[in-house]
């Protein structure tokens, strides 16, 4: 037994004897003597948190989380519950990956640096852009960083960022916070049947605009058809074109580099993480032109003293620990371990598996929309577009009531309007589709 108090930290390995000898070595009578805290601010109360055994703690967490309902989630809108292969859990959980710090000593951290270099390379292939960082927090913060990058690289006095009217509230609000300390303002452009309204956008892009943001697929699951035109409009007006997307979509849809995207953001944790109440992995890629303005960490190749290839964090003079208030971003701790998981999942799938996953996202969404459309009282998809993973359904009855009824039958869907629901097939097992259609038929009666 370590320590005198059974209630002390179970992870401090000192025996009583060791503690006594250590105190003697430092010339202190007690540990209290080592604290240099004035009486006036000393804390003499209690937190009132009871210690528990490991077993009791596990039971506590299991009991609390057990209050969550077990539902089949037909939910998407930027966050997807794709099946994550066991390989990812077992290898990412190896403690060298899990318990290391940022790779400030590269010689002893080659494995993680290489894994992050491979993650960056994955994004370079998917986006066609030359530079990808090794993570931001999530899609929303990556969008915020894209806007501040646009402000830095545009040498005009422009101050507008244009985003679609369908932008998720969490992304919009985060972007507003990121630009609050700059001269930027966020403006909205309209969409037409869930794609960019190009004519309206052309009117709105002016010299004041530093960045236009669009998403593919859109938040309503439609595939954007006007990407090349957006790229041209942005280039003509010297605004950056930032595209929001994800690794599964990128496996199949138009390559951002081919449509003139200057920055690609989005959530890369669609691969590698289960639904985690919104925990994410911010994807950030851009062109070589803006390399020295990129936020976040970059891993680069170099050589060691034996002339073998070795990896290291690089271009750190952009970062806060060196540049302080002139840094490109305040980000420090990022999502390295999630990036590792995403790279592992992508490697597990391979290119054919990734393309297949994306293609099934198209066909399964089409099939389900068709089946729901056959039901009386429902029309799907609402938007006359190609879809990836998800689509909107119009229902005759109030949408919230239908969603409630579906939940009672074990299915979670989005309510996106008074008479509009959105459903997503990503990660939904094939065998749950028939029961869902049956439940849907019952609740729209």
């Amino acid at each position: 037994m370590h320590g005198s108090d059974a209630t002390g930290s179970p992870y401090a390995p000192h025996t009583d004897d060791e503690r006594a000898r250590m105190l003697e070595a430092v010339g202190a009578g007690s540990v209290d003597d080592l604290f240099d805290i004035p009486d006036a601010v000393e804390f003499d109360g209690e937190f009132g948190i009871d210690a528990r055994s490991e077993r009791e703690t596990r039971r506590l967490v299991r009991t609390i989380l057990g209050r969550n309902d077990d539902l089949t989630e037909l939910l998407g809108r930027g966050h997807y519950g794709y099946y994550v292969p066991s390989l990812v859990d077992h290898l990412a959980d190896r403690s060298e990956f899990l318990t290391s710090y940022t790779q400030y000593q590269p010689e002893i951290s080659q494995g993680f640096l290489q894994a992050l270099f491979e993650y960056q390379s994955l994004l370079v292939e998917l986006t066609g852009l030359e530079v990808a960082n090794c993570s931001m927090y999530d899609a929303a913060t990556a969008l915020g960083e894209a806007a501040t990058l646009a402000e830095r690289v545009r040498d005009t006095s422009g101050h507008r960022v244009l985003v679609p009217d369908l932008l998720l509230e969490g992304r919009r609000s985060t972007l507003e916070n990121y630009v609050a300390g700059t001269d930027l303002a966020v403006d909205t452009y309209p969409t037409d049947d869930a794609n960019v309204d190009l004519a309206a956008l052309e009117e709105l892009i002016d010299e004041e605009c530093v960045m236009v943001y669009a998403e593919n697929p859109t938040v309503r699951g439609t595939i954007e058809e006007g990407l090349e035109s957006i790229g041209e409009l942005a280039a003509e007006r010297d605004a950056l074109f930032a595209l929001g997307t994800d690794p599964v979509a990128l496996s199949l849809l138009q390559r951002p580099a081919d449509v003139g995207a200057d920055v690609v953001v989005g959530d890369a944790s669609v691969l590698g993480l289960p639904t985690s109440y919104g925990m994410g992995l911010g994807l950030f890629a851009t062109t070589e032109d803006y390399l020295r303005q990129v936020p976040g960490r970059l891993v680069g190749a170099s050589e060691d003293a034996t002339d073998r290839r070795a990896f290291t964090l690089t271009l750190q003079t952009r970062e806060q620990h060196i540049r302080r208030e002139r840094a490109t971003s305040n980000i420090c701790t990022n999502q390295a371990w999630v990036a590792l998981r995403t790279a592992m999942h992508a490697a597990y799938l391979g290119p054919s598996g990734m393309v297949d996953l994306a293609e099934r996202g198209v066909t399964r969404a089409e099939d389900l929309a068709e089946r729901l459309d056959d039901l009386v009282g429902a029309t799907a998809p609402v938007h006359d577009r190609h879809h990836l993973r998800e689509f909107v359904i119009r229902v005759d009855q109030p949408a919230p009531a239908i969603a409630d009824d579906l939940e009672k039958r074990g299915f979670a869907v989005h309510v996106v309007g008074d008479h509009e629901l959105q459903v997503c097939v990503a990660g939904v097992p094939d065998e749950r589709i028939d029961p869902f259609v049956a439940a849907f038929r019952e609740v729209i009666r």
Binding site: A12, H14, E18, M22, V31, L34, D36, I37, V41, A51, E54, T57, V61, L65, N68, D69, L75, T99, S100, T102, Y104, P106, E107, I108, S109, G111, Q114, A115, S121, V124, E125, E130, N177, Y178, A180, G181, T182, S251, L252, D258, T275, Y277, G278, M279, L291, L298, A301, D304, R308, R309, T314, Q316, N330, C332, T333, N334, Q335, V355, D404, E407
Partner: protein, 502 residues
């Protein structure tokens, strides 16, 4: 046959003889995935297998990535993991980073299927998630002496940014929107400066006094009606407690500014002092430091923010509260604070990290948390007493900054790698020349600290030539970081195109 140089071995170091795993194939360490395979998949009706469900003009032409079997991948990632040093490999005394041993059971609770829920689920269907968030908010409030807590910030720096945005919203609301300066001590973490700047503030840098603490005269000079906030960590990055904290708080409050607490060093204070009691108005908690959640090689972390009542209406939305719907079984709901700044993350931050932090706090309880701080401070003092390098500032708490003196601190760090320990943070804070900022945390016992001290002392006796040649027992030898920055090669595609040029 090993190509390692055995000639320099110091007999004292044999007790910590260390050789990191290394794989060499075709003259390189473990090959890249792309060097094992590259497979191009054509997409669209006109190329290859055809059958794309989309018209060609909406798709890319092809995708080229490695296509490997599961066993090949298992070996690749196992080898990579063996070429990494983590806290489970040995001591990791990185000052200000607080690298503690992470209990294993927290991984299991975070992996519970009931933890994996979509963020758009109805509140009714995720009562467990909301209850755990509510309880963690409550725990953190008690530990920090704060009235209200948001869990949304996904890292410490994101927490700082929330603090800055909350301060700005508060001042704006009070008709004090003209305040445009944030004061930051020179020794503060770089994130403080960057977060204040991202929030649109001018950063006023504050020098330290001779004892390494806030210089009150300099603070007096820096404070004005333009001061929005002072950002401070206590103990500071030298491990010194800011004894004048009450006076500092009064000075800041007198000019109408807010006092921000950087929680990076909270591990020194658990159960001993609380930021709220010291006069801090807003703080962030680095749950991945103080509460032993794994750092994951650089994240994810989480940076919950606590505030006093007056600032609670400005916190990010949504927060969790009890809804009082039923007495027998409490219910929880999300709500938007009255004057909320909105969101700083798409959803509710790094949820799985929060689960681990909750489990850790619930496991230790009051006594365990206080004991962790007590032993973290004891360990720092003991280790400092055992090393031959000078420690110019004291009395320190959980971390101390030694000076490598005539030696180059970065070289000292490289050589320490050869003794099977992770080195301290180097060359920072700059007030100590050739700084070795050391934080052993509570998880090391006396024997480990003695071995760590032996490594410090072995290096202290070595000549510059030995130091400059280090490390030699790690996977890679000394890496040329200058050339990595001069000609950036950031992807395997960049390496390939380089090969084409030759």
């Amino acid at each position: 046959m090993s190509d390692r140089d055995e000639s320099r071995d110091d007999p004292r170091a044999e007790q910590t003889r260390y050789d990191q795993a290394r794989y060499v194939e075709n003259g390189q360490y473990e090959p890249l995935l792309s060097e094992k395979d590259q497979t191009r998949v054509e997409i669209g009706g006109n190329g290859g297998d055809g059958g794309s469900p989309l018209p060609d003009d909406l798709t890319r032409d092809s995708l080229e990535l490695p296509e490997l079997s599961e066993p090949e991948l298992a070996r690749h990632y196992t080898r990579l993991s063996q070429m990494i040093y983590g806290i489970d490999s040995g001591p990791y005394p990185l000052g200000s980073c607080t690298m503690k041993y992470n209990p294993k059971f927290t991984e299991d609770v975070a992996a519970l299927p009931s933890a994996a829920v979509h963020p758009d689920r109805s509140e009714r269907s995720v009562q467990g998630t909301l209850e755990l968030m509510y309880r963690l908010q409550d725990y953190l409030g008690r530990i920090g002496g704060m009235d209200a807590v948001t869990l949304q910030p996904p890292a410490g720096a994101a927490g700082e940014f929330v603090g800055i945005r909350v301060a700005a919203a508060y001042h704006e609301h009070e008709g004090e929107g003209h305040r445009d300066e944030v004061i930051v001590p020179e020794s503060a973490h770089g994130t403080n400066f960057a977060s204040a700047a991202l929030g649109g503030y001018d950063v006023v840098s504050l020098p330290s006094d001779e004892g390494g603490r806030v210089d009150l005269e300099a603070l007096e000079a820096a404070l004005s009606e333009n001061t929005a906030a002072l950002m401070l960590t206590n103990p500071n990055t030298l491990g010194l407690f800011e004894r004048d904290i009450e006076e500092i708080a009064e000075m800041v409050h007198d000019v109408g500014g807010l006092l921000y607490y950087d929680g990076a060093n909270l591990n020194a204070l658990l159960g001993r002092a609380r930021p709220g009691d010291m006069g801090f108005d807003v703080m962030h908690y680095n749950v991945h430091k103080t509460f032993a959640t794994p750092h994951g090689g650089g994240g994810p972390g989480a940076g919950p923010v606590g505030v006093v009542d007056e600032l609670a209406p400005f916190l990010p939305a949504p927060r969790v509260r009890e809804n009082g719907a039923s007495k027998s079984e409490p219910g929880y709901e999300l709500f938007d604070p009255e004057h909320t700044i909105g969101k700083v993350h798409g959803y509710q931050g790094n949820w799985l990290v929060l689960v681990k932090a909750f489990a850790y706090i619930a496991r230790l309880g009051d006594e365990g948390l206080a004991d962790a701080s007590a032993k973290a401070v004891l360990n720092a003092n003991y280790l400092a007493s055992r090393i031959e390098y000078e420690v110019p500032y004291e009395p320190f708490h959980h971390e101390f900054v030694a000076s490598a003196g005539e030696q180059d601190a970065a070289d000292v760090a490289k050589r320490m790698l050869d003794y099977g320990v992770h080195p301290p943070t180097t060359k920072w804070p700059e007030i100590v020349p050739e700084a070795l900022m050391t934080e052993p945390t509570e998880v090391e016992g006396k024997d480990t600290l003695d071995r760590l001290a032996a490594a410090f002392n072995a290096v202290a006796d070595e000549d510059d030539e030995t130091l400059e040649a280090a490390p030699e027992r790690t996977t890679a030898r000394r890496i040329d970081q200058t050339s990595a920055a001069r000609s950036p090669r950031l992807s395997w595609q960049a390496l390939e195109s380089e090969g084409d040029d030759e």
